[in-house]
């Protein structure tokens, strides 16, 4: 429900609506974009970052909240930790039950590997299930992998690894066909033609969707298929540390999140598919990510020697919910803008074309609020601008909002706001980890036996990912990881020894760098309890 003050402000947005209906807003020039980014995007602010003092990417900078989990000690003491009892002995261990993990597991098992999927929450509780907008793929006659490639590279500021970007766009048609065959309910015309729309930074309409539950529908289907095929799975089991024989990754220490017992997995190959780190809350930004997005996989990989790529770039989604407080940070899908929604300042004027790339769009919103002071401030003090959704109804007809973005509509309706009648308030939210562990086109990290796929990996999207390319990435590289890890495992006769020497070395390096043993990682779950409660917490059940 809007407060009377906000309702009053909405009148200004209403006053300009007619004029805005047919208004063409120009794209920014390359120079103007650069100036905007340098002035207002968090990635361009030195105070956001810290330089890493230890590990394979020592000397590189990451946001301070990320640096804090890298420059941290393990909760395990590597000296004398008993690794003698092996609980699971498998070919391929897949860490993470989101889209990338599920795709990898299905494919690896198809290749004949004995797989095990372990995941921190339930299978499917992930960022994948939250993706609303869509999945890219050049499958229309006016489009091609080459055109797609150019969008990916331009969007990523040409920092992408060309081979990874090529794999992404060249595998896309097959990935879509795989999903179609598994029975993902894509939006289609009656003749089967996929309904595709634009996304930020696309030059062709290649965003395929399953209404506004695209990731959810994909995840539900992959999960169902995993259960149908009886893929071995342990839920509420987090990998807390990887194990090595000194050279290769040979398994992992699992933590039963419920009983607090640890378990040992021996694996010939291991795939990290642990997703992103929105719950680290860089600079206190709200986040669109799921509860378990705490960058664990990055920490696990980093400690065994896998370097990071572009972890100094975080994607802030330009349109996170800024009001009401209960849904702060949740995503307002880009599709709202794709189908015609307009962004305006408090005066009801547009100030940026709605489908600029996300970094540019987010910087423009931040500039409008903090630089030009033309934003709205919500009752809880959150800066915001308007996203005029009513204009969609004017353009596409009454009922269009509810029909095209039902999940969004319901989200707001729950809190007494009708998006078809009133604009909504938005502000950037921490959304996506552009960078991650370095991989090649077979998803191999430089550490033997260790693979990474999905949001935990870096390089594919350069320094800025386009909407719809991440769901694609998850399917394409999840499948690639499954194939490669299964193939490598098949060539390994006996599994390696299990050890934690890498952790001893890492701890020694931390100590040498003067890092105090106060921080512990991986984080596993964010802490949202009230400080007053946490302060008085004691553990007495021995």
């Amino acid at each position: 429900m809007y407060t009377p003050e906000l309702l009053e402000l909405i009148k200004r947005v209403e006053a300009t609506r007619e004029r805005r209906l047919d208004e063409e807003f120009p794209l920014l020039s390359a120079d103007a974009k650069q100036e905007l980014l340098e002035g207002f995007h968090p990635d361009y602010k030195d105070e956001v970052f810290s330089e890493l003092r230890v590990g394979p990417s020592k000397g590189e900078r990451t946001p301070t909240e990320y640096a804090r989990v890298f420059e941290a000690y393990s909760g395990l003491d590597p000296d004398g930790f008993d690794l003698s009892k092996v609980d699971f002995d498998v070919d391929v261990l897949i860490v993470g039950g989101g889209g990338a993990g599920a795709a990898a597991a299905l494919v690896a098992q198809e290749q004949g590997a004995n797989v095990l999927v372990v995941t921190k929450l339930r299978l499917g509780d992930s960022n994948t299930v939250m993706a609303q907008g869509g999945i890219q793929g050049a499958d229309k006659p006016n489009d091609s992998p080459a055109i797609h490639y150019l969008d990916v590279l331009g969007g990523g500021h040409y920092k992408n690894d060309p081979e990874l970007a090529k794999a992404l766009v060249m595998d896309a048609p097959e990935a879509l066909a795989w999903l179609e065959k598994l029975g993902v309910m894509f939006d289609k015309e009656s003749d089967g033609t996929m309904i595709t729309i634009h996304g930020g930074g696309t030059s062709r309409k290649r965003m395929h969707a399953a209404r506004d539950f695209t990731g959810g529908e994909i995840m539900k289907t992959l999960k169902d298929e995993m259960l149908n095929r009886d893929v071995p799975l342990v839920e509420f089991a987090a990998v807390y540390e990887l194990l090595t024989d000194g050279d290769r990754v040979t398994g992992a220490v699992l933590y039963n999140m419920e009983t607090q017992e640890y378990l040992i997995v021996r694996a010939k190959t291991t795939i990290l598919a642990t997703g992103g780190g929105g719950r680290l809350h860089v600079m206190g930004f709200p986040t669109s990510n799921h509860y378990g997005a705490t960058a664990d996989g990055l920490v696990l990989g980093y400690r065994v020697g896998a370097p990071l790529q572009y972890l100094d770039t975080i994607q802030y989604h330009p349109t996170g919910a800024a009001y009401p407080e209960q849904i702060l940070g949740l995503l307002v899908t880009e599709k709202v803008r794709s189908i015609g929604g307009q962004i305006t300042n408090t005066e009801g004027d547009r100030f940026v074309y709605e489908l600029e790339t996300r970094d540019v769009e987010a910087a423009a919103v931040i500039r409008e609020c903090l630089g030009r002071k033309k934003g709205v401030v919500t009752p809880s003090g959150q800066p915001a601008v308007w996203l005029d959704t009513v204009v969609i109804e004017k353009k596409l007809g009454e009922g269009a909002v509810k029909a095209r973005v039902p999940a969004m509509y319901r989200q707001y309706e729950r809190f007494g706001i009708d998006m078809a009648k009133h604009p909504i308030l938005i502000y950037p939210t921490q959304h996506y980890q552009n960078g991650g562990l370095e991989i090649n086109e077979r998803c191999e990290t430089p550490v033997p036996g260790l693979y990474a796929a999905g949001e935990v990996a870096g390089g594919i999207h350069g320094t800025n990912r386009l909407m719809g390319n991440s769901l694609l990435d998850v399917v394409v590289f999840g499948r690639r990881a499954g194939v490669a890890a299964a193939a490598q495992a098949a060539g390994i006769k006996t599994a390696g020894g299990l050890g934690l020497d890498h952790l001893k070395n890492y701890h020694a390096a931390l100590k040498a760098a003067g890092v105090e043993p106060t921080n512990v990682s991986p984080m596993l779950l964010p802490e949202y309890r009230r400080a007053a409660t946490v302060e008085r917490k004691i553990e007495l059940l021995a």
């Binding site: 879509l176 029975g183 289609k188 996929m194 509860y291 319901r410 949202y528 409660t533």
Partner: protein, 227 residues
């Protein structure tokens, strides 16, 4: 803004919490740290089904902890897991008919048309309608109606016939998409082009191209109109 405090009873125990919080945030405020019962925090995953009762009302209500705002004198418990039956199948072998549904989930026959499931659904889905559609073999309708299901299990938790609606729904959507909806013709064509290597040379050229040349191409690429 002064915070209006309310009392909620988490599994019977009273806690004072700010009245504008969701059940999930209120429980965290009270000191609970979720392991189960919390996933997306945004009505996408169905991890946080909650059953509750309000003061002077004998009726049980259900909702999502990440979406419902607390009320004074709310008595609540999460049901983060529901041990519903899931049939296993090979989607390739099935036909999109009532028989397929009934062979895997014969209990659908037992639907009493009581509509309890629909009333329970936090996603405002016409649950009974899609179960009835599935029973009639109208797979397309069941798929369409159930689309927004997040597998929270609240419908099943209230069903007197012990039907696991969300699994039936998922089966219907997969059946529909695999066996009823037409395959995308352009996707098939593209797969053939890919197999023929149609784009290989162009891609090789692009991956070797210098940044300045790529930027030139990118900045001057033609855009399909937005409308």
């Amino acid at each position: 803004m002064a915070e209006q405090m309310v009392t909620i009873y988490v599994m019977g125990k009273p806690y004072e919490v700010p009245g504008d919080l969701t059940i999930m945030k209120a429980m965290e405020y009270a000191g609970y740290r979720f392991v189960r019962g919390c996933g997306c925090r945004g009505a996408f995953c169905g991890a946080c089904g909650t059953v509750y009762r309000t003061k002077d009302d004998y009726r049980l209500k259900v909702g999502l902890a990440c979406q419902e705002v607390v009320q004074d004198e709310m008595y609540l418990a999460e049901i983060p897991f529901f041990p519903g039956n899931k049939a296993t199948y090979d989607i390739e072998d099935l036909k999109p008919t009532a028989d397929a549904i009934l062979s895997l989930y014969p209990e659908v026959f037992r639907c009493l048309s009581c509509n309890t499931c629909t009333k329970a659904c936090p996603q405002d889905i016409e649950v009974m309608e899609y179960i009835q559609a599935a029973l009639r073999g109208d797979i397309a309708k069941a798929a369409d109606l159930s689309f927004d299901c997040i597998l929270c299990g609240l419908c099943a938790s209230r069903c007197p016939a012990e039907i696991v609606q969300y699994q039936v729904a998922l089966l219907c959507r997969r059946l529909y998409s695999r066996h009823v909806a037409a395959e995308a013709p352009h996707l098939k064509d593209r797969l053939k082009e890919m197999a023929d290597g149609t784009f290989n040379d162009e891609m090789d050229k692009l991956t070797k191209m210098k940044q300045a040349d790529l930027a030139e191409l990118y900045n001057n690429r033609d855009m399909e109109p937005r409308g």
